[in-house]
Symmetry: D2
Subunit: 351 residues, 4 copies
Amino acid sequence: MIIVMKPHAAETSIKAITNYIQENGLTAHLSRGTEVTIIGVVGDKNRLSTENLISFKDVDRIVPVTESYKLANKKFHPEPSTVRVGNVSIGPGTLTVMAGPCAVEGEEQLLEVARAVKAAGAVILRGGAYKPRTSPYSFQGLEEEGLRYMQTAGKETGLATVCEVVSHESLETAVKYVDMIQIGARNMQNFILLKEAGRAGIPVLLKRGLSATIEEWLNAAEYIIAEGNPNVVLCERGIRTFETSTRNTLDISAVPVLKEKTHLPVIVDPSHAAGAYKYVTPLAKAAVACGADGLMIEVHNDPAHALSDGPQSLTFEKFDSLMKQIMPYAKLEGRQFPEKRDLEEPSPEEE
Amino acid sequence: MIIVMKPHAAETSIKAITNYIQENGLTAHLSRGTEVTIIGVVGDKNRLSTENLISFKDVDRIVPVTESYKLANKKFHPEPSTVRVGNVSIGPGTLTVMAGPCAVEGEEQLLEVARAVKAAGAVILRGGAYKPRTSPYSFQGLEEEGLRYMQTAGKETGLATVCEVVSHESLETAVKYVDMIQIGARNMQNFILLKEAGRAGIPVLLKRGLSATIEEWLNAAEYIIAEGNPNVVLCERGIRTFETSTRNTLDISAVPVLKEKTHLPVIVDPSHAAGAYKYVTPLAKAAVACGADGLMIEVHNDPAHALSDGPQSLTFEKFDSLMKQIMPYAKLEGRQFPEKRDLEEPSPEEE
Amino acid sequence: MIIVMKPHAAETSIKAITNYIQENGLTAHLSRGTEVTIIGVVGDKNRLSTENLISFKDVDRIVPVTESYKLANKKFHPEPSTVRVGNVSIGPGTLTVMAGPCAVEGEEQLLEVARAVKAAGAVILRGGAYKPRTSPYSFQGLEEEGLRYMQTAGKETGLATVCEVVSHESLETAVKYVDMIQIGARNMQNFILLKEAGRAGIPVLLKRGLSATIEEWLNAAEYIIAEGNPNVVLCERGIRTFETSTRNTLDISAVPVLKEKTHLPVIVDPSHAAGAYKYVTPLAKAAVACGADGLMIEVHNDPAHALSDGPQSLTFEKFDSLMKQIMPYAKLEGRQFPEKRDLEEPSPEEE
Amino acid sequence: MIIVMKPHAAETSIKAITNYIQENGLTAHLSRGTEVTIIGVVGDKNRLSTENLISFKDVDRIVPVTESYKLANKKFHPEPSTVRVGNVSIGPGTLTVMAGPCAVEGEEQLLEVARAVKAAGAVILRGGAYKPRTSPYSFQGLEEEGLRYMQTAGKETGLATVCEVVSHESLETAVKYVDMIQIGARNMQNFILLKEAGRAGIPVLLKRGLSATIEEWLNAAEYIIAEGNPNVVLCERGIRTFETSTRNTLDISAVPVLKEKTHLPVIVDPSHAAGAYKYVTPLAKAAVACGADGLMIEVHNDPAHALSDGPQSLTFEKFDSLMKQIMPYAKLEGRQFPEKRDLEEPSPEEE
């Protein structure tokens, strides 16, 4: 941590800070410029609530020099991680596609979608049983019934399954039925839920909050890992900006930035980012091209009658076309397409 | 709801939509322009998932014409509401100041702060027992112990009390100790928690999410009210923008906008918005001047050693000065200052 | 400037940087932490393009410690400045109200508005002769003819005048007719125009760009002052955020932030920020309460038929009411209301 | 245009509006809902300043239904345009790479960079002679001398050339030396400059403003085209958001959105968006994958000593690697790589 003093700070102000630092068992290094003095703090910063130093006299700014997340940090874990979900891998060397309806609406509907996305090459079935909706009067999900359909559809098709959880109860229920739980954008800083996910014993898909910085997102992942669960996959799904021609602004740069800062796998959800089906395929291609480890795509048997997010859902035909279009991009990136791997070339780790 | 068709939309496309609307028991009104046809939908829109109409052929845009929140909506409840917290009123005619430390750190500390803010004219004691923190390694609060101190401090000083809840458990515990619960910015769209707050039986302070639109915020309030709890107070605390000279950007316009859209009381938290104590007083004055029903201010006995949010906390002296400075503004706005009301001119409703 | 090295940076990397710094005639101060080494750079930083140091091996981050603007900086000019526009002062001790139509539409219209805003207490007449409009098909202003009307209206009413300029030509023409020129939000980083404004010889009202940080804004002011024109007034007029219930988000915190960083006067334009007349008065009161030196308000004789920005313009009656409402706030802030000063209590500096 | 009335609007209010519409030679279509009445306006909207209707009694909202830009609009020009710059095409079927230094620093430096980018496959040389810089104390460019070097480098290498202009003078000078002029982000709404670019007689590269919506950007293009210059290329270069891990947030979705709304070619500048060289290659790949017609990349002979934007500039080696990596992506998108086309397979239009 660096403390930048105001120009021509009083000697007594500098002394007060170095004393405070030393009292807390840390070391202060002074660097005196012509106008500005800088104080470097060396030692275990957990010993003092360092942000408070801003309250000391003549302090201009506090500049942190190390990230607050450790377990998610690539600096201390340079090799990229692979997360296993059921019999599926997410990480380097594969491109993992999760697909399915925004909301589980019924058993037949889900099975129909599951078979279609499986046929097109998806390896994980997504489907919402607990739906966070802006208005209390919108459809809120089938809850445990929906989870049961997810389990059935997973078994029938061989797809692994992922489902969003929104509370202690839904999490406790979900772990009984699905292979991976999702923490959605609106709960990215629901720290209680993050801690519970850290104790859930199954992999976690952590979506980025609508206005979360990458730093905050990695700290949210740290909450989960710190509870003993290293199986976290990050999902970029668009951030909130002034632009309204898409529902959110897909922050595609987050992919290479995350690849530099963390060892955790990163996937992209172009459906929620765009909010319109017609932009999903080009954005999916962009995501693969810039290094994403996977995709999450909304697919519906009848988008015009979907109970949630119809406008951004792909029909079976459009999803099949998307999968065909991204395949060569996956190859260029040296990524096995899960479909092919599962069906034809089982990887050693799956045996 | 209005459906705007693309220029020169096919007659069959228009027919498909009007049929769909009529099948759902609604009425379609056509308005044919030289280039563009517009379809107005009349009737109970809950009958169809209207956003899906965007998936129909030749549809350009869907424009909603009524808000999705009803109970929070001023159109259906024109008189401003007053919310009672303990023996304190929040609403028209009063200016209610909530003050206290970001985090409850100990019994003595809390009592000291409580006495100081009471002496300066605050009527509600704020204090965090459950702290949502970006990093899992930051101080997370004293939990139930902190709530107990809040209760003690409230009894000793006669202040009403408010405390943030972050989960089912914390909510269940908090209602036993404090007079009002707070849903924080990070949980503004934690819909499960909102519903539980709606069943909690005590007033709720609902902070705005960092990137929540006013429309989403009012829908969040609707979740609480729809469960039977009309005692919701909204708190503007800054939104996330590109500007970094303050921690968040206080959206002061939210005050007059909310006054137009909802009957719920509105308060402002300049401490979290600014993130720096030196901007708190001018922002507090601005909030009073533009119609806020109250303020929430962070005050600490020793900001330099605070366990959370020291940089934005006021000392007792600075808080006292703030209160003296806002008093004439409150009068200009025709608002009784709680201090005076409590000590000298008890209002009829308190008897 | 501080250079933060990556954890465990190689000794050769550190050496390369300190050499580079010394070759450029500057001094390097090392502070070695347990993980991270920090290099402070002391001396005249204009000697090297310091941002490039980020390209050196093992460099993690560059942290500037001094602002790039000097002439606008309060650190080097602690007393607040007063800017004279015609016979009007903008600065400490007064509250200066500029008012008038968004666009000058005709001589009669302008005179009518000028008389009305004068009667209500405004001291500067605003009016657009060159209108930057999003669409090329919108009304673009009366140009020199409009400036002539501004001059006439100023003479007839005794009001000082301000008019936006958008180019070399419009600036050259405007200085012949009006008392102050305005650089609008869209031209805040039109550096050529800023330099020309710095040589114009009359005061400049510099509006904040829609997405300009306060730092960038002050650097824009620096461009004007560096050319020899210290008479710059800053005008906050709303920034672009995700919120759509107002046209822009008035960054009210910019007022106290600027008061800390610069000696230049600061005014607020609630009309452009809100984009709706009904929010103008509460925002004007907020601006006065938090320390603004003045206001800019759009007023129109017939808002429903205005050629530009009708929705946010006040009628004469509403403007008169606004002025009556802000007067007591101005007094609380120790500010003379220009109307009173001009008419009844001429200040010494005006004699 | 649609006028949405407030719930239960008075009949007299509705009548006032329909009268006003009819007086202006337009037609009003009423659609009466249970709560809300909607008025559709049919006819040539240029006949009235429609936004003012918001000032009428009982009006809730105005919803525009057609875009204000016509010449840039794909609805009226469905075929994608190709823009010729010197002997280079930008448009469907090719992937055009512009590369070069942020600032022209000297004749030798520019030639060295020009030869290197040509060798790697770039077909247009970029280089700044007029640099818009945040601080007045930063290097501002070599001006006409720099343009002369651009011309020389273009002739020597056979590359076409593009250079930013920032004013009337720089534009007049630039057209004598280079093949294409650029309007930068900060001048995207410098409408005077846009009009002059429309009369310049050479192609224009129009960068997106930092906080410009896509709608505003297309209106800026309309300014140029409306003056008679249809040769406009749009360049996405990142927008301003809250995220600080990249300098700006590359809005990759803008590419498919623009492809739907306009016939103009679209290129992407990942260098300015990222602000860090390490993210440039993955973002370039993403841009190609989602349909961009070209790229603009900053390349420097010695980034550590560049006078501007060193941190985001690629070395020759890194640029060569980028070009090799994007080539297969260009092929997947059915795009000829200009290098190959020019050297080996001249297209008919070039003869």
